[in-house]
Amino acid sequence: MTKRVLLIEDEPNIIEAVSFILTRDGWDVKTHSNGHDAIDAVHYRTPDLIILDVMLPGRSGFEILQDIRADQTLADMPVLMLTARGQEKDREMAQRYGASRYMTKPFSNAELLANVRELIAP
């Protein structure tokens, strides 16, 4: 069965590019573009993997990540964090809140695919 990935990101052109790359790689890609109700989208879409941007309108990616980890049913969900800030501080926060991987913008498509494939086989 095709594996599902949920991309939570607010930049339309990044959404389009990432969706395209992953779809061509055999993933079923769903997207969500704000922080407010991202956690609802996670429950509704039941993805196998989440790609989560840090800077989102409404709520930060870190808050959403904390919610995900606090939820028993989602505790083992692979989460790949994306951020526009390459700062050490953000990397530490992502690790502390339990991100499975961390990727700094801008990233190459190969890097994205490698990370996603290592987290879960498509």
Partner: protein, 435 residues
């Protein structure tokens, strides 16, 4: 040289107490009387060898002559050594060093002080950069655009047999993002160019919007027409002053509001009322049966040539200025926070009250203005959220004989305010700070 002054005085005191003449002492230590005179009057710094000779002849420990002088210096040297966590410096020989090489010692101590001051400045600047919202927003924009361009362009290059629809779509995206990138980069360059000048700022969207309104004298006749709203998008898109999307959105909101206001209070009715009542906001509001905020906004569109200048400042509940139309005699700062004494901010504390206050800005040509301030509730309170309030302050020139009370002195912003005693001061003034 504060320290050396002490040395000169000590030598002179000691010589006089021994009943020695200047020429006698000079001869004994092998310097000219005039040189000794200069030393005693603190006009020449005294070296180690001369100091030792003088001390010998004056029968005092060299340290006694130099102690007061060198105390501050040796302390400075110790601080400098500790700041380096240095085990290399011969701390037990600090006095000797200062005594033998007072010039070098002073250079070292002074360099340490300078390094400390520079460190402080660097820290402040780093802080400012790290917390600067314009900068971090510009950077975020740039990085987002770069990310999108990078991902999209490698799709275009690496995907074999990419369908023409997708190709066209990605081309369009790259074009869009590269334009955004150019805007972001330009804003960054502008910011960094302005950085050495602390008062210069990146031109914020708010500044762009005001530049646009200013170019039109805060009056757009088309908005007076009932179908004027239709013209707004074109006006905004064509404005050379509006360079960012954020500024265009801001301008659009302000213009649509102005159009709505114009329909609620037509210019002809306003002018007629002003002709009869004068520039008297309370009387006008009653006469026209409109709220003060609406009246204030409309009064900014009164033709200046007939009714004189009308200024307006609007702030939100955080005290941030969201709209400003200046008038001569009353400066409204762009980047720095405004003076906390403005009646504008009292409205936030007492939103059900109006304030009529003659004002004069300190440090400017005295040009008193009349201020009329009132608050507007822009979103009602609920059990979940407090009410949203905006403060309004209308400014008009004060006419002769109007309002007998002496004007209240307020500032522009602390950095350029000369008022010495002020409980509302946030930071020291450039004008009164010791150089």
């Amino acid at each position: 040289m504060a320290q050396s002054q002490l040395i000169g005085n000590r030598i002179r005191d000691r010589r006089l107490s021994l009943g020695l003449k200047q020429s006698e002492l000079a001869r004994q230590v092998g310097i000219s009387p005039s040189y000794l005179n200069l030393i005693e009057h603190n006009r020449r710094r005294i070296g180690g060898k001369t100091l030792l000779a003088l001390a010998e002849y004056l029968q005092v420990e060299p340290a006694l002559l130099s102690e007061g002088a060198e105390a501050a210096l040796t302390e400075g040297l110790r601080v400098a050594a500790h700041s380096q966590n240095s085990h290399v410096a011969e701390l037990d020989r600090t006095e000797e060093f200062a005594g033998r090489f007072p010039g070098w010692a002073q250079v070292l101590a002074a360099l340490h002080l300078k390094a400390e001051a520079l460190e402080q400045t660097t820290k402040t600047l780093t802080d400012r950069l790290a917390n600067d919202p314009h900068l971090s927003a510009s950077l975020h924009d740039v990085i987002s655009s770069v990310t999108a361009i990078r991902a999209t362009s490698s799709i275009l290059v690496e995907t074999k047999n990419l369908e023409p629809e997708w190709r066209a779509r990605f081309h369009r995206n790259i074009n869009e993002d590269s334009r955004r990138l150019a805007e972001g980069a330009e804003a960054l360059v502008k910011y960094l160019e302005g950085a050495p000048d602390t008062d210069a700022d990146i031109r914020s969207p708010l500044d762009e919007m005001h530049a646009f309104l200013d170019a039109h004298d805060y009056m757009l006749p088309v908005l007076e027409k009932s179908n004027g709203a239709a013209a707004v998008p074109h006006l905004v898109a064509q404005a050379p002053e509006l360079k960012t999307d954020s500024a265009r959105q801001m301008a659009q909101r302000v213009l649509l509001q102005a159009h709505e206001d114009a329909q609620a209070l037509p210019m002809r009715a306003l002018c007629q009322a002003v002709d009869e009542v004068g520039i008297q906001p309370d009387g006008l509001a009653q006469r026209l049966n409109v709220t003060l905020p609406l009246l204030f906004r409309r009064m900014t569109a009164l033709p200046t040539t007939i009714y004189g200048p009308v200024g307006l400042v609007i702030c939100d509940a955080s005290g941030t200025i969201v709209f400003r139309k200046p008038i001569p005699g009353f400066a409204i700062p762009h980047a720095a926070g405004p003076c906390a004494l403005w009646p504008l901010f009292q409205t936030l504390q007492a939103p059900m009250q109006t304030f009529v206050t003659p004002l004069e800005q300190a440090g400017r040509q005295p040009e008193p203005v009349m201020s009329y301030a009132a608050a507007q509730v822009t979103a009602p309170m609920s059990f979940d959220t407090p009410a949203q309030i905006k403060g309004y302050m209308l400014l008009v020139p004060r006419r002769q004989g109007q309002h007998a009370a002496p004007p209240q002195v307020v500032g522009t912003s602390c950095r350029i305010c000369p008022v010495a005693q002020c409980t509302a001061r946030r930071e020291a003034s450039l004008l009164t700070m010791a150089v």
